[in-house]
């Protein structure tokens, strides 16, 4: 809610104060608070319109508070905020924490935020919180900030409750909780509700009385605050600490935050919910945190103005979120400055609009939720903000190892804050996923849960942010878990995170765009609580029905933001709200930023497609069209059977979904891969050597060493046993061809095992000749893992080979230590301590690339074996799920090409039999009637030719020819798209050379990414609009509208292609995955699809374009919400 309001208000407010900064802040949602604050003091309108409850609560002290706030804001702008803050402090003096807060804190934050925080702290863990705050003056500042912020938040909440919370808050909370769907928030919420329902005042006492609940609230509030204020806090923490302006801003923020806190527990609960939402959003969108940071940075850049703005924004946010809070703050700040009030009034007006939009009843809730974040920021002023930033960082880093750090840094603060609870839980979660940079990978997992401090030491960055850690920790963990659980392919987003991190380091960077986007999301996330203002049902409907959404959009540009908020409580895209609001500047900036986000490589590929594909794209998607398409059949095309087929299809889907619903979990290959990332690095380590058969003069492969040993003979073990029995054949698929040799250059290859349940395992092999003299037989060192990460295992195998060169006995301890290592998350590094006699202790770093999607892929080897045309033919055959057989002389070529060609299918995954290396003894498998991709050594070619193989494409890698083909391979794909694809691939090196832009991630500037992006573009042109036809069913389940989807494509050739392709198992799996997902997919493909949908409108009417944009955004939000 706040986000929406903020967005709206911010633009307005921004216009008044600092337009540039405003948008960002608007995103952050800080502006709304300001407005609210202003409104409250100046105008009863706000209080009335926005939150009747708030008004009532606030009204008492609102006037004073408002005046104070206004004044404070002005002062903040003037940088006189110190005095104000001090004033607030004096008021807050009640809060011990303030005093406790460091001098610095007292100077900045303590004044406003501290009071509230103190209150909260007092209520919950007041003494400890205060102590913590006071304890860490400098470094503590961060800590103290966090603690202070938490305290502030609590205090604020308390104060709010004191003021007299309204029952509405409870309802709001409920709504919020519903939207958020977060259980965590709910319990706390429930507590809050219970207390508050009786009355705002009652709620306050209850809060005070129940320390536990308060603590919980504190946590939530802190988190929220951290998230909401993170933007502000980040800049402040990094740069502001020194600058008075920042301090002032902080004070303001603190005040705001205090205000928000004041709102009451309900608000806090709402805040908590919002925070959770924000967290979710952040998790969902890894880039979000960076954006926050960037926002902060941006603010810093413009510091004074921006700060003032930011403070205002914050105020606005806080006001929006918690107008009540603002009131409280006003109360705290007796000195109300009307000069500030004027601006505030403007903001308020804007906000009032927004608030009106959101509906007064809803507002309290939403505001309350946003308020909490704001309050934290306010209390944080200087310190809290840093904490928040830390929190964010921690979230980001948490994925790596932040949580531990945070804990370590401020163990004391955390404990007092009561955040301790969350950290622990988070820790428990993290160990697996955290690829963290633990010195000892093995020790890490255990250490995290037990001794966070140790972990904390690992990350220096985290140290500074310790206080925030506690709040952050949970979030971070959640983020990690979610991200991890998401498709591995979605890891791509991590890049954004990485950027965000970078942005942190470079506070004043041009990350604004990112930050803004993130902030906007954050705002939205915060805003969702406000959603209630509009009918929730509508929001739900919107999700399900694009058409309605579009209509609404057309009707209510302003409301759009609300609708969006409602629809997408967790994720609010700035663009939507901005667009709706008609803030062209903001939207433009966003668009440009987005453009910036698109690597040049991708842009070049896009341009190739644009010139080649022709003008036909998606048919105009007018509302009516979409409606008809989604609801019934496609009017534009009269196909007699479409209706029936459609009905039958939907019925089928409905039934399937109902069945699937019964089964809580669904399994797709993508999900399985993700799940397994959380587990161990590998399952088995096996050494296979050749043994001479007693009777014949040939050899058979046998396992000579195995780790770990199999234990109980359960059914799984039986299967594992079968696998282990088969592994030697895969390690030596050519065993019969072997004889002792004196020289052999080691070879690395991989194979793939498919279990009875369809699960896939990678076998990474290094075949080498043991050290010795004379003729001898090679050995294969093989690691079986669920994870596809070729580079990482290649590094491990390098070490194995090195050790084997000394002694086989050195290999096993190394592998044992690895076995206990967690698998690193994408972009993360684990360090493994190794000891090698003679070389001493060594630390081995194992890093996974950010984009785990291609980490096991080497397109270079594929193009070295096949021409572009051939690659495209193979690609087309795979797309239509034909049978493909690769033949090569070398195992490494076979395995790398097979993996590469399957990776071309992204975002789709090969659902059928996949055997990169097929042992010669199993070669008759190629007679299979079902689709497959199989690789065999050329030594098996004679036998292959005898077999009754079904129609298949046989590709001899390296000879540049097809042994057998169906002759139509080159005409399977839409002609123009194929031409574009081939051109992009032919020019891949050129595209790569051109790309010297430093902005792009290094990982973007690889041949792998160029090739992948070209194929992604192909899919965008064909199915990039799929999300528009993923509509919500009656029960909230997502249903894909097949025929409307296909018919919406203007190009006849693409429609024809889709007609076949949509019958493939991989398309079915893709859609199935999207339909069943609880959250919207957010991988690289979804990113590109979003961009693709945005550029669509160009050829169409502007209105349609806008509509599509809004639609796309809404869809995203909806997905995310789900």
């Amino acid at each position: 809610m706040t986000a929406n309001k903020n967005s709206k208000a911010t633009p307005k407010a921004g216009g008044a104060k600092n337009p540039q900064e405003i948008p960002d802040r608007c995103q952050s949602g800080s502006p709304p608070p300001i407005l609210s604050a202003v409104k409250e003091p100046c105008c009863a309108q706000f209080s009335e319109t926005e939150d009747a409850g708030r008004q009532s609560r606030y009204t008492k002290a609102d006037t004073t508070v408002r005046s104070q706030r206004n004044w404070s804001q002005k002062t903040a702008r003037l940088r006189s905020g110190c005095s104000l803050s001090t004033e607030t402090h004096s008021r807050l003096t009640k809060a011990k924490s303030i005093g406790c807060l460091d001098n610095k804190l007292s100077i900045y934050k303590p004044s406003s935020g501290e009071d509230q925080a103190q209150k909260e702290n007092q209520l919950k863990a007041g003494p400890p919180g205060g102590d913590t705050v006071s304890s860490g003056p400098l470094s503590w500042s961060t800590l103290s900030l966090t603690s202070a912020s938490a305290k502030y938040g609590h205090k604020r909440t308390l104060s709010l409750s004191r003021n007299g919370t309204r029952t509405s808050s409870a309802t709001i909370r409920k709504k919020i909780s519903e939207w958020e769907c977060r259980n965590v928030a709910l319990p706390r919420m429930s507590l809050c509700f219970d207390k508050r329902p009786g009355g705002g005042s009652e709620g306050c006492p209850s809060l005070l009385s129940s320390p536990c609940s308060e603590k919980a609230f504190d946590f939530k509030s802190v988190r929220r605050m951290s998230t909401a204020f993170s933007e502000c806090s980040y800049p402040e923490t990094e740069e502001e600490d020194g600058t008075l302006d920042r301090e002032c801003n902080r004070r303001f923020q603190k005040r705001e935050g205090q205000k928000t806190f004041i709102r009451t527990r309900k608000e806090t609960s709402a805040v908590l919910n919002r925070i959770q939402k924000i967290e979710q959003a952040l998790k969902e969108s890894p880039s979000a945190p960076p954006r926050y940071l960037s926002n902060c940075y941006g603010l810093e850049k413009q510091r004074q103005k921006s700060f003032t703005i930011s403070s205002r924004h914050e105020d606005l946010d806080s006001t929006c979120d918690s107008k009540r809070s603002s009131i409280c703050s006003v109360a705290t700040e007796p000195d109300a400055s009307y000069s500030g009030s004027e601006k505030l009034l403007k903001f308020r007006q804007r906000f009032s609009v927004a608030s009106f939009m959101s509906d007064s009843p809803d507002l309290p809730c939403s505001r309350g939720s946003p308020g909490p974040p704001g309050p934290p920021g306010a209390p944080v002023n200087p310190l809290p903000k840093p904490k928040r930033t830390f929190e964010y960082d921690a979230n980001r880093s948490h994925k790596d190892s932040p949580p531990s750090n945070g804990i370590l840094h401020n163990p004391d603060t955390r404990v007092p804050l009561a955040t301790v609870k969350t950290p622990e839980s988070s820790f428990k979660r993290t160990p697996d996923r955290e690829s963290c940079e633990s010195e000892d990978a093995v020790s890490l997992p255990s250490s995290y849960p037990s001794s966070p401090t140790e972990n904390g030491t690992a990350s220096t960055e985290n140290h500074s942010r310790p206080s925030s850690k506690s709040t952050l920790e949970e979030n971070a963990y959640e983020d990690i878990t979610e991200s991890m659980k998401e498709n591995p392919y979605e890891d791509v987003d991590l890049k954004g995170r990485g950027l965000a991190r970078k942005s942190r380091l470079l506070p004043e960077r041009s990350n604004d765009s990112l930050n803004r986007t993130w902030t906007s999301q954050d705002r939205k996330s915060t805003t969702p609580p406000q959603l209630p203002s509009k009918p929730s049902s509508q929001s739900l409907r919107l999700l399900g029905q694009v058409d309605r959404k579009s209509h609404r959009l057309s009707r209510l540009s302003k409301r759009h933001s609300h609708d969006d908020m409602l629809l997408l409580p967790q994720l609010s895209s700035p663009s939507c709200s901005l667009l709706d609001d008609g803030l062209s500047s903001a939207s433009d900036t966003l668009a440009s930023r987005r453009q910036r986000r698109v690597p040049k490589v991708v842009q070049r590929i896009n341009s190739i497609f644009c010139t080649k594909r022709g003008k036909k794209r998606l048919k105009k998607l007018s509302l009516s069209n979409i409606e008809t398409a989604s609801l019934r059949d496609d009017n534009s095309e009269s196909e007699s059977d479409s209706d029936d087929r459609f009905k039958a299809h939907t019925q089928r889907l409905l039934k399937l979904q109902s069945i699937l619903r019964r089964a809580p979990s669904y399994r797709t290959l993508e999900l399985q891969l993700i799940e397994w990332q959380e587990r161990e690095l590998f399952e088995y380590f096996v050494v296979v050597s050749l043994k001479k058969k007693p009777t014949k003069n040939s050899y058979t492969p046998e396992v000579s060493y195995q780790f770990p040993k199999l234990e109980r003979p359960t059914k799984q073990m039986r299967e594992a046993e079968q696998r282990l029995k088969a592994i030697p054949q895969f390690c030596f698929p050519d065993a019969k061809d072997w004889s002792p040799v004196s020289e052999y250059s080691s070879e690395t290859f991989s194979f793939m095992l498919t279990g009875e349940d369809g699960s896939r395992r990678f076998g990474y092999c290094r075949r080498l000749l043991p050290s010795g003299k004379g003729q001898r037989l090679p050995e294969v060192y093989c690691v079986i893992s669920r994870l596809g990460c070729f580079d990482l295992f290649s590094k491990i195998l390098d070490e194995v080979e090195r050790r084997r060169g000394i002694s086989a006995a050195l290999v096993y301890p190394f592998m044992r230590s690895l076995m206990e290592s967690p698998f690193p998350a994408p972009g993360k590094t684990i360090k493994v301590k190794t000891f090698l006699p003679g070389a001493g202790n060594e630390v081995m770093e194992l890093r996974r690339p950010m984009d785990s999607r291609l980490e096991h892929v080497d397109f270079e080897s594929l193009f070295s074996c096949l021409s572009v045309r051939q690659v495209v033919c193979v690609f087309a055959s795979l797309l239509l799920e034909r049978r493909v057989i690769f033949i090569a002389d070398k195992l490494s070529v076979l395995s790398s090409c097979a993996h590469a060609v399957v990776a071309l299918l992204y975002p789709f995954s090969w659902q059928h039999t996949f055997i990169p290396v097929l042992p010669s003894s199993m070669v008759d498998i190629v007679c299979c009637p079902t689709p497959f991709l199989v690789g065999i050594l050329s030594s098996s070619l004679p036998k292959l030719k005898e077999l009754p193989v079904e129609e298949a494409l046989m590709v001899h890698l390296g000879t540049d020819r097809f042994i057998r083909q169906l002759d139509d391979e080159a005409s399977l794909l839409p002609r123009k798209l194929q031409a574009a694809l081939e051109q992009a691939l032919e020019q891949r090196n050129h595209i790569l050379d051109q790309d010297s832009d430093s902005e792009s991630d290094d990982e973007c500037n690889t041949l792998n990414s160029v090739v992948s992006e070209a194929f992604i573009r192909f899919f965008l042109e064909t199915i990039g609009h799929y999300s528009l036809f993923l509509t919500q069913g009656e029960r909230g389940e997502r249903v894909f509208q097949r025929e409307p989807f296909r018919k919406s494509v203007a190009s006849k050739s693409i429609r024809r292609f889709l007609g076949v392709f949509m019958e493939s198992q991989m398309f079915a799996g893709f859609i199935q995955d999207r339909e069943l997902r609880k959250t919207r997919a957010k991988g690289l493909f979804e990113q590109r699809a979003e961009q693709y949908l945005e550029e669509l409108p160009d050829t169409e009417q502007s209105g349609v374009n806008k509509f599509l944009k809004g639609l796309g955004n809404k869809m995203k939000f909806l997905h995310k919400k789900n």
Binding site: A648, R652, K655, L656, I659, L660, A663, R667, T668, L669, E719, Q722, R723, K725, A726, F730, L753, T754, G755, E756, D757, G758, S759, R760, L880, E881, R883, Q911, H912, T913, F914, I915, L918, M922, I925, C927, C928, P929, T930, P931, F932, E946, L947, P948, E950, E951, E1063, S1064, Q1065, F1067, A1068, G1069, Q1072
Partner: protein, 201 residues
């Protein structure tokens, strides 16, 4: 492979893992060496040559892993097969539900002229039966296909069912004249709906 047969029919087993597909084809092939590739490469097949109406018919029965992952089974999956054997476990309702889903999608796309058959496996475990025989019969009747309750463990109806399916395919193919001795290709004839024929134990 010497061609010691007049026809080669490729049959496809469809059903959740755990319904006993592997045991079925092992039993069918009378393969005492019951190793299987299914747990290593996710695909396996067994071969048996039978005589149907004086013709030597080589049956290749294929099984692939991970089918329970599919919400629908598309034509791409089974278009290379001449016969589809849908297997569920009479002690497992979910496996039966999945069959129902797949049956619809296969029927909708049955233009490939694939012969189908429904098997309720593990009928030796009467005590744990969850899917009544009538339900299986009804489902088969609705789709106009054969239905058997089988037991791979007790060797009930296994061979009978496969031979019955082979006969159906042979009839279809003889109509279409595809007997080069190698691989009979059924071109798209409208699938004949055969009356459901339930064999009692």
């Amino acid at each position: 492979m010497a061609k010691k047969y007049d026809f080669l029919f490729k049959l496809l087993l469809i059903g959740d893992s755990g319904v006993g597909k592997t045991c079925l084809i092992i039993r069918f092939a009378e393969d005492n060496f019951n190793s299987t590739y299914i747990s290593t490469i996710g695909i396996d097949f067994k071969v048996k040559t039978i005589e149907v109406e004086g013709k030597k018919v080589k049956l290749q029965v294929w099984d692939t892993a991970g089918q329970e992952r599919f919400k629908t089974i598309t034509t791409a999956y089974y278009r290379g097969a001449m016969g589809i054997i849908l297997v569920y476990d009479i002690t497992d309702e979910k496996s039966f539900e999945n069959i129902q889903n797949w049956m619809k999608s296969i029927r909708e796309n049955a233009s490939a002229g694939v012969s189908r058959m429904l098997l309720g496996n593990k009928c030796d475990i009467e005590a744990k039966r969850k899917v009544s025989k009538e339900m299986g019969e009804k489902l088969a009747k609705d789709h106009g296909i054969r239905f058997f309750e089988t037991s791979a463990k007790s060797s009930i109806n296994v061979e009978e069912s496969f031979i019955a399916l082979a006969r159906d395919i042979l009839m279809k193919s003889s109509m279409k004249q595809g007997a080069s001795g190698r691989e009979v290709k059924l071109t798209s004839t409208t699938p004949e709906k055969k009356p459901s024929k339930c064999l009692l134990l």
